[in-house]
Symmetry: C2
Subunit: 155 residues, 2 copies
């Protein structure tokens, strides 16, 4: 009986969670080959793309809490992929930069993640993949803007 979860399959959240589970499983294997996890990889990419970024802004971009980012950066710094340098204009803050080693690893890992992405979307046309991206971003937007709890019916 392969469809015993048919009721749940009607919900977009369930199909998203099932699909994301297998995607993250595969991605985790790929990134482990570079000594990275999902969190450290995405953090490294954003730092490489935005040199001099500070932690509060980085946490906003990645939608994670600042205390959790501290541990991720500790990992990246210990692996010599990222440096924290005191900001000259604000001695409370750090400017984050990818080291040459970090940039190289980021590029190699990104190539592998591109391959992973291609594998995961196999069987879908370019237009279908583009539509998938659009739909997911629309849903993210819907979720952000429905923060008004008055819209949410309660029992």
């Amino acid at each position: 009986m392969a469809s015993s979860d048919r009721t749940l399959r009607a919900f977009i959240g369930y199909d998203m969670k099932r699909a994301l589970n297998v995607v993250l499983g595969d991605l985790g294997i790929v990134l482990a080959g570079f000594g990275l996890r999902m969190t450290t990889y995405s953090t490294l990419v954003v730092i490489r793309d935005n040199p001099g970024l500070r932690q509060t802004r980085l946490a906003e971009i990645l939608m994670i809490e600042r205390p959790n980012l501290v541990l991720i950066l500790d990992d990246l710094e210990e692996a010599e992929l990222v440096t924290r340098i005191r900001a000259p204009d604000d001695r409370r803050a750090y400017e984050l930069t990818a080291t040459p080693k970090g940039k190289r690893l980021c590029e190699q890992a990104t190539a592998a993640v591109n391959g992973h992405d291609t594998r995961m979307t196999r069987g879908l046309s370019d237009e279908e993949v583009a539509a998938l991206h659009r739909a997911l971003r629309q849903i993210e937007l819907n979720g952000r803007t429905s923060d008004d709890p008055s819209e949410i019916p309660r029992p």
Copy 2:
């Protein structure tokens, strides 16, 4: 600078994770109104749809590990939404059934989750939502069948 994560936005896994985060956040609020979490809700639905189901099979359907299911069922049983009854033909196993109270709550919660689902997919046409379901199931399938590690290039 709203697109500082543009590199990551090219990956389907990133857009899926961002979208799922907001969906699960909203869904969590909806389900909390019924005293349920995501895990207890989906477990309750599958039990109601498949009376007499046993735990090993249920864990397979939901793709969770059996030890983790035990705690979920403890919750559902303590809330008197589900019963574990010794299988007459195999005294190691339990037959899982939703109580009348469990069926009522399941129906009410499902109505609320339907509303949540509609809110989350707002701005998307019926055809776009259908395409989204199809794409996500294709990706889940791709992930399942690419279990062969020989396909995954390593550094």
